[in-house]
């Protein structure tokens, strides 16, 4: 049995992931509740990053509309249950995934007609369009956003009320739901990437024309990936509303997509787990930056700048055995550009 390039290549990697999940599972009992909430936020970010990684790592499509699907997922909960009348999760979660998936289907159907630079700009514009609708009209509380009733955790008539827990444990339910959803998201995407579907996507990433020549309808595969990624982003957005009980248009802004992409780059572009590592690293970075200075964004910006220039393969790509690769990447970043045809130009010409 072969494994996909995005997944751990040996049992050691899978064990590391399992240990990571176990550590997360017992973490709330050993840290103050503030960090429980923070870890929940990091896990939600990790879900968003994972879903966009299906596009970036799986199919080589860089979308800037992804944050909008995340926001649509969160807003779906708001539209279903404005403040005061909470709905059960088994209703809101599928609804959020459905609505985000539909949005992704429509946006995807229009944007996969374009490639490379155009794809980026078109997805950016679509994301901004969804943002504008919620920002400029009074549909979803306007500019300031709105509070919503958090979905209730209920299953088969049994309802779970976080308020019944002691004060120090009230953040636990959201934490464990997020952890469960994160594990499910990772496994589902891992399964997808191992399947024929994932292999075709990888083929498209490497050479779309060749896949076309082999008889695959590449547009359909790309649209499928875009929609599935949208569905998972919607699920992450739903988790956000469950955790925070608040929505605002900023959830849809393209900065959200850019942040998710940053996490992927930070964690490692060549591994699905890199999205999770990156999300935790990025959240931790923001927290450390906040404790050191009130210029959080400046620190984040500088770290990202450094990461883009030096850390080409992300945290998951660091190999401690071979420090020469580090030196190499530093050296090559100082070289003159060579005189071969540049990648975007090549791409644009292929599109002609």
């Amino acid at each position: 049995m072969s494994s996909s390039h995005m997944l751990p290549q040996s049992w050691i990697g899978w064990c590391a992931l399992a240990v990571g999940a176990l550590v997360l599972a017992i973490l709330p009992f050993y840290v103050p509740s503030y960090y429980v909430g923070l870890t929940t936020v990091a896990m939600i970010a990790a879900m968003l990053a994972l879903s966009v990684h299906l596009l970036v790592g799986g199919a080589g499509m860089v979308s800037l509309c992804h944050g909008a699907f995340y926001g649509v997922g969160a807003y779906t909960v708001f539209f279903l249950s404005p403040e005061g009348s909470p709905q059960p999760t088994w209703l809101t979660l599928p609804a959020a995934m459905l609505v985000s998936g539909l949005c992704a289907l429509v946006v995807g159907a229009l944007s996969i007609r374009t490639k490379g630079f155009f794809f980026l700009m078109v997805t950016l514009a679509f994301g901004q369009m969804l943002f504008t609708v919620l920002h400029d009209t009074k549909l979803g509380g306007g500019t300031d956003g709105a509070y919503l009733a958090k979905p209730i955790l209920s299953l088969f008539g049994y309802t779970f009320d976080p308020m019944s827990l002691p004060r120090s444990q009230r953040s636990f339910p959201a934490y464990y739901v997020a952890l469960g959803q994160l594990v499910v998201t990772y496994l589902a995407l891992a399964f997808l990437l191992r399947s024929l579907f994932g292999r075709v996507l990888h083929g498209i990433k490497l050479n779309e024309h060749r896949m076309e020549a082999l008889g695959y309808n590449t547009g359909l595969y790309k649209l499928g990936a875009f929609t599935i990624a949208g569905v998972f982003a919607g699920a992450a957005g739903h988790m956000w509303s469950l955790q925070s009980g608040f929505v605002n248009p900023e959830l849809l802004a393209w900065h959200k997509s850019a942040e998710a992409l940053l996490m992927i780059l930070l964690g490692g572009i060549n591994s699905l787990a890199g999205a999770i590592i990156g999300a935790f690293a990025f959240t931790a970075l923001g927290e450390v930056a906040l404790s050191l200075t009130d210029r959080k964004l400046l620190v984040q910006g500088l770290v990202v700048l450094l990461a883009v220039i030096v850390l080409r393969h992300g945290i998951a790509g660091i190999r401690l055995r071979d420090p020469r690769r580090w030196l190499q990447s530093i050296r090559s970043s100082g070289k003159w550009p060579n005189l071969t045809v540049r990648k975007p130009v090549q791409e644009a010409r292929q599109n002609d």
């Binding site: 800037l64 369009m129 964004l297 400046l298």
Partner: protein
């Protein structure tokens, strides 16, 4: 034609021309350098802040705008030399993240230096009057001045790209960069000049816009997205495409915003108002469906 409509049309023209200054830089930088610059909107903001700073120190817009343009050229040259030059061969993703990091850094540095307050820049006294256009309608002279300035810049840009030797090299570099290299032309210099000019155009747009809108944090981010729409509609790498698309998008956006809110009272008003706020994107979708390479792009 009613005075209100005429004034909105002129506003749309002026907004579209400012968009052209921003979008032409974007489209040139992509066409020649192959770089996606999301920080282009930040350059617009930097321009507005430089003008605000110089006007508050010296008191004259006529000094402030040339200063801003020179700063823009210098900043663009520095960015190209020390950052973007190393990213020509890199993935789109790396370019997006690099420029996103630059947005964060520019915004924070701006906040460190001048704070997060709104500022206004006074219109220079010599242009602080209204020009009567019809019997009942007059239009602010400064806005007409902005229209004229943008048209002059557009004309100079066209002359530079289409009629000079350097422009020919730039067009060649956008079309077939390897041939330009083989002919022994220093492509690095071309890249430096194009990036610096693109940056200076955005900075100049910010400087011209400063007395019209107030100067405030993040003022470039909305314009950035609209400029991307302009580039998509106009066709990638085409300066004349960017010009006509900018005018079109500027008019549609202005009219959509001006009359969108008055639609709320109609039946289905909320939906119509939402559609009006999306009008620019709807145009983009239509263009994508029927001409995926943009109005002036090369045919596929």
């Amino acid at each position: 034609m009613s005075a209100a409509l005429l004034s909105q049309l002129l506003n749309g023209l002026q907004y579209g021309l400012l968009l052209f200054l921003i979008a032409s830089g974007l489209t040139l930088v992509f066409g020649v350098l192959g770089i996606i610059n999301l920080a282009h909107g930040s350059l617009f903001m930097i321009g507005a802040y430089i003008v605000f700073f110089v006007v508050s120190k010296v008191g004259s817009l006529w000094i402030a705008i040339p200063v801003a343009v020179i700063c823009g050229l210098a900043l663009g040259a520095l960015l190209e030399r020390f950052l973007f030059r190393h990213f020509y061969d890199r993935e789109h993703l790396d370019q997006v993240l690099l420029t996103f990091a630059l947005i964060l850094i520019f915004e924070e540095v701006r906040s460190l230096l001048v704070g997060n307050d709104f500022h206004s820049v006074p219109v220079p006294a010599i242009l602080d009057f209204s020009v009567p256009i019809t019997g009942t309608f007059s239009y602010a002279a400064y806005r007409l001045f902005v229209i004229a300035m943008c048209l002059v810049v557009a004309a100079v840009l066209f002359y530079w790209i289409e009629r000079t030797k350097m422009g020919a090299i730039i067009r060649a570099a956008a079309e077939k960069p390897e041939i330009v290299d083989i002919l022994g032309i220093d492509a690095r210099r071309i890249h430096l000049v194009v990036f610096a000019v693109g940056a200076a155009l955005a900075v100049m747009a910010g400087g011209l816009a400063a007395p019209l809108t107030s100067v405030y944090p993040n003022m470039g981010s909305g314009l950035l997205i609209i400029s991307f729409v302009v580039v998509v509609v106009g066709g990638l790498g085409s300066v004349s495409g960017a010009f006509w698309a900018a005018l079109l998008i500027g008019l549609i956006d202005t009219l959509g915003k001006a009359y969108g809110s008055s639609l709320v009272s109609l039946p289905l008003g909320q939906v119509l108002a939402a559609l009006a706020s999306m009008s620019v994107y709807i145009v983009m979708v239509a263009i994508l469906l029927f001409r995926p390479t943009g109005l002036f792009g090369r045919r596929a």
